[in-house]
Structure formats: structure tokens, C-alpha cells
């Protein structure tokens, strides 16, 4: 099993609903976020192009954050998700520095926090991640890449996509439809 997410940059309107929904679902403290929106504008008025991406931890297949963690708090879990066990985390910050996407942050409780793909609280209960299930434009897809019929597999087959900073060698599992 390999969980993955895809966001359709052609449909995402950058509303940030996914960000608030993550906050209220996962009790992310005010002032912090596990996901965020990037808007890229290219060109000169009126020859312009816009790309909008909802980003979060890429749950990399080859993730430096897991490698550099001295305690094993950062680890691979079901479906290749990358998780942090708060009680094993010493808050050294190595994983934060190691993530090319700045996807992690120190939780005010001390341990490191980041997107979990909502694994325990939703996905294992058969629900979609909170951000995916709230998105008004339905531009987010989540599922198992090993299952050719999962919505994420299907959409990746159908559409052109990219990942972020593939050159960093992390093998991200968060795709962007372009």
C-alpha cells in the first residue's frame, strides 16, 4: 500500500479551506499549520499565468526527516506515511532542518508536528483526510497508489502531473496536476 495525494492546480482556488479544516480537525494550534497555499504568478500584465497549490508534507518515499531523526520518533507508517510519535521526539529540530519543503514545525507542546495524512483519526476509519473531504472545488485526491482503481491512481494516469523539487531526491508522494 502506498498512500498519496494529488491536488489539481487547475481547479484549486487557493481558498485555504483545507488549512482551516486541518486546524479544526486535528487540533492544530492557532498560529500553526500543517498545510498551506502557494500562488505563483508568472508574466507581465496582461500576459499572465497562475498556478495555485495546496501543499503539505509529501510523505516522501525517501525522506530525509526520517533518516536524520536520532530517536526514531519520525518514522514510516502504514501506506508509507511519515509520522512523528510525540513521546519519542526530543524536539532537536533536525527533521525540520532536513525537510526541503519546510513541512514540519515545532508544536508548542515541544514535539515536532506535521501533516499525518489524517492516518489514524480518519483514513484508518475509512474517511478521507480532513482537507480532502472539505475542499469546495473537489480538487484534492487521496488514495492508495498500489490500487490502480483508487481515485489518485486514476487521476494520475489521466492527467499530467509534477512533484515538488524532485531534484532533492526525496521521492515525494504528493502530486500536483498541471
Amino acid at each position: 500500500m502506498r498512500y498519496a495525494m494529488a491536488v489539481d492546480t487547475k481547479k484549486c482556488v487557493g481558498c485555504s479551506d483545507c488549512v482551516v479544516a486541518c486546524q479544526t480537525e486535528n487540533n492544530v494550534p492557532i498560529g500553526y499549520c500543517r498545510d498551506w497555499i502557494v500562488e505563483v504568478t508568472d508574466g507581465t500584465y496582461p500576459q499572465l499565468e497562475l498556478e495555485i497549490r495546496s501543499e503539505r508534507c509529501n510523505h516522501c518515499d525517501n525522506s530525509p526527516c526520517v533518516r536524520c531523526c536520532p530517536t526514531g520518533a519520525s518514522h514510516y507508517s502504514k501506506g508509507g506515511t511519515v509520522l512523528v510519535t510525540p513521546d519519542e521526539c526530543i524536539g532537536c529540530g533536525a527533521c525540520i532542518a532536513s525537510c526541503p519543503y519546510d513541512a514540519r514545525f515545532p508544536h508548542p507542546d515541544g514535539h515536532v508536528d506535521k501533516c499525518t495524512f489524517c492516518l489514524h483519526n480518519r483514513v484508518e476509519k475509512g474517511l478521507k483526510p480532513a482537507c480532502v473531504s472539505v475542499c469546495p472545488t473537489k480538487c484534492m485526491y487521496f488514495g492508495d497508489l498500489d490500487d490502480p482503481n483508487s481515485e489518485v491512481s486514476v487521476v494520475l494516469k489521466k492527467r499530467k502531473w509534477k512533484t515538488l523539487i524532485p531534484e532533492a531526491g526525496t521521492r515525494p508522494q504528493h502530486y500536483f496536476l498541471i
Binding site: G14, T41, P100, H111
Partner: protein, 313 residues
């Protein structure tokens, strides 16, 4: 014009708008680690070479400061942790891929040895020293008997420690400035050089000072060579690496780096040491002081600038 904005107001503490998760703690920890590694390397090396008495400062005196610096370093590391109560988790597992883990365990080996080393040489400072318990006498005798083995262990672990201070950064692919394999040898060289400087600083023997000045000069040469290569490497690499290098080539770190680290911390001491070796009379404390300060600033600059360098996407 290209405009790239995070529009959802992301402001994660210590991460935005620029990574600044590590402050003074980590560079201080690395500097002290490198310094201790340098001193202990020379102590063990000359013990193995059987030159304890020729290089008395290096082998018997200078190591006295290493337990303190290592402990201060560990305290700095501890203070840096955000989840301090879970500190012990470092020692419930060994993670071969994690430099942090390597460092923690290496210190776990080196720090006790540094204490043992001091204990073995305690009479250098307090000639009438007596252990309060006979068990300790037995222990002293044991270590004295196995001093060569101990030295070999120390030699290896001090090298690991020295390299580790660089690897901790260079393992981070995410920060282009750090992501160069040169940082390991460079920080090792810098650590050895500061170690040598401390020995010069403490030594009362002209001969010992001269030997270490020569060693230091060589190390400085290596450092300069590595630095030049590091920048050449960056400039020949991807845009993000070029951007990283440009932090030092016109960017905000240009003056601190080229003035304090390179000129004052490397070139001037090298010149002074060279002149001294050529027999000129130079106040002998200047060069080692500059080297130590330069090494200190170097860690800070690399730590801070590295966090500022990033992949843009």
C-alpha cells in the same frame, strides 16, 4: 515578474518566513565538539606515538579543558531541545543514518574518556592527588595499563566527533549551503586547527608551540583549499547552490565570512605563524586567539546562513 506567495498566512514558529530553528546552541555545540575533538585527537595521537613527554601540553594539560567544553556543549544541545523531558530518548536507540544520533553516541563515548584522560593526568596539576577510594586506584591502574588501547579508541572517536560536527550540517540536502560533502573534512580541519591553537595557547614550551604552529599552518592551508573548493562546487552546481553561495558572494554574509572567518581567522594567523616559524618575533598568543575566534564565528555563520539557504520552487 514571477511572484511566489504563500497566501494562507503560514507563519509557523521557527520555520517562517525563514528557517531559524537553530540559534546559538547548535553552532556552539559544534564548535566546542570540534575543539574538544581537536585536543583529544592530538593527545591520543602523541600518546600512541609515544611522545607524551615531548608534547606535554597537548597530551597532559590541554585535555583538562575537554570535559568542561564537552559538558557545556551538551548543555547547549540540551537547551536547544524543544521537548527536553524526552532527552533520554536519544539513548534508547542507535540510528546509523542520523548524524544527531551519531553525535549523541560519540559524545557518550568521548566524554567519559575525556574524564578518564584527566584522571590519568590529574597529578600533572595536583602532584599530591589521592583517590578517595581504592577502587579508583585500581581503575587508574587499569586504564594506565591499557593506555594505548584507550588512545586508539579516543583517536578514532575524536576523528568521528570532528567529522560529525560537519556532517551534522552536510547531511541536510534540504539546505543547499550545507549540502556539500566538503563540510565534514572542513569542520574536522577547523576543529583540529582550533585544538592546535588551544595547545599553542597553553603551551609553555617553545618547541611544542613551533610544532603545533606548523601543524596549524598546514590545517589552515587545508581549510582554505577546502573553502575554495566548496565555493567552486556551489558555483558549478544548480541554481539553488549558486544562490546559497551568493549569500557569501555579495549576500548578507559576505563581510562576516570573508573578513572574520577567512581573513582574520585563517589568513592572518597563517601569516603570523609562518613568520614565527621563520624566526620573526611575533606575539605568540595572537595567531591562536584569531584561529579560535575564527573557528567559532565560522560555525555560527554556516549554521545561520545554511538555514537561510533553501530550495525555491
Amino acid at each position: 515578474m514571477r511572484e511566489e506567495l504563500i497566501v494562507s498566512g503560514r507563519m509557523n514558529h521557527l520555520v517562517d518566513p525563514n528557517l531559524h530553528i537553530w540559534h546559538w546552541h547548535i553552532p556552539l555545540y559544534l564548535f566546542l565538539g570540534g575543539l574538544a575533538a581537536g585536543i583529544l585527537f592530538f593527545a591520543s595521537l602523541y600518546t600512541i606515538l609515544g611522545k607524551e613527554n615531548e608534547y606535554r601540553t597537548a597530551v597532559k594539560i590541554a585535555p583538562f579543558i575537554t570535559p568542561f567544553i564537552l559538558i557545556i556543549g551538551l548543555i547547549a544541545l540540551f537547551l536547544d531541545l524543544n521537548h527536553k523531558l524526552y532527552f533520554w530518548r536519544l539513548y534508547t536507540t542507535i540510528r546509523l543514518e542520523s548524524p544527531m544520533s551519531w553525535g549523541a553516541w560519540t559524545l557518550m563515548v568521548v566524554t567519559p574518556i575525556s574524564f578518564i584522560w584527566c584522571a590519568l593526568n590529574i597529578r600533572e596539576l595536583f602532584p599530591r592527588w589521592k583517590w578517595p577510594h581504592s577502587l579508583l586506584d585500581t581503575a587508574e591502574a587499569f586504564f594506565r595499563k591499557n593506555i594505548r588501547t584507550l588512545s586508539w579508541i579516543l583517536l578514532i572517536f575524536s576523528l568521528i566527533l570532528g567529522v560529525y560536527t560537519g556532517i551534522l550540517f552536510s547531511a541536510f540536502n534540504a539546505r543547499p549551503l550545507w549540502n556539500t560533502s566538503i563540510l565534514g573534512p572542513l569542520f574536522l580541519a577547523s576543529g583540529l586547527s582550533t585544538g592546535a591553537a588551544v595547545i599553542i595557547f597553553m603551551s609553555k614550551s617553545h618547541r611544542e608551540r613551533m610544532v603545533f604552529a606548523r601543524i596549524d599552518l598546514m590545517l589552515i592551508g587545508i581549510e582554505i583549499f577546502l573553502i575554495v573548493h566548496m565555493f567552486m562546487g556551489f558555483l558549478a552546481s544548480t541554481q539553488v547552490h549558486i544562490d546559497a553561495a551568493s549569500l557569501f558572494l555579495g549576500g548578507p554574509y559576505t563581510t562576516p565570512f570573508w573578513l572574520f572567518v577567512v581573513t582574520l581567522g585563517l589568513v592572518i594567523p597563517a601569516v603570523l605563524e609562518f613568520l614565527e616559524l621563520r624566526g620573526f618575533r611575533v606575539p605568540h598568543l595572537i595567531a591562536p586567539t584569531l584561529v579560535i575566534i575564527g573557528g567559532f564565528i565560522f560555525r555560527f555563520i554556516i549554521a545561520y546562513a545554511g538555514q537561510e539557504s533553501r530550495w525555491l520552487y
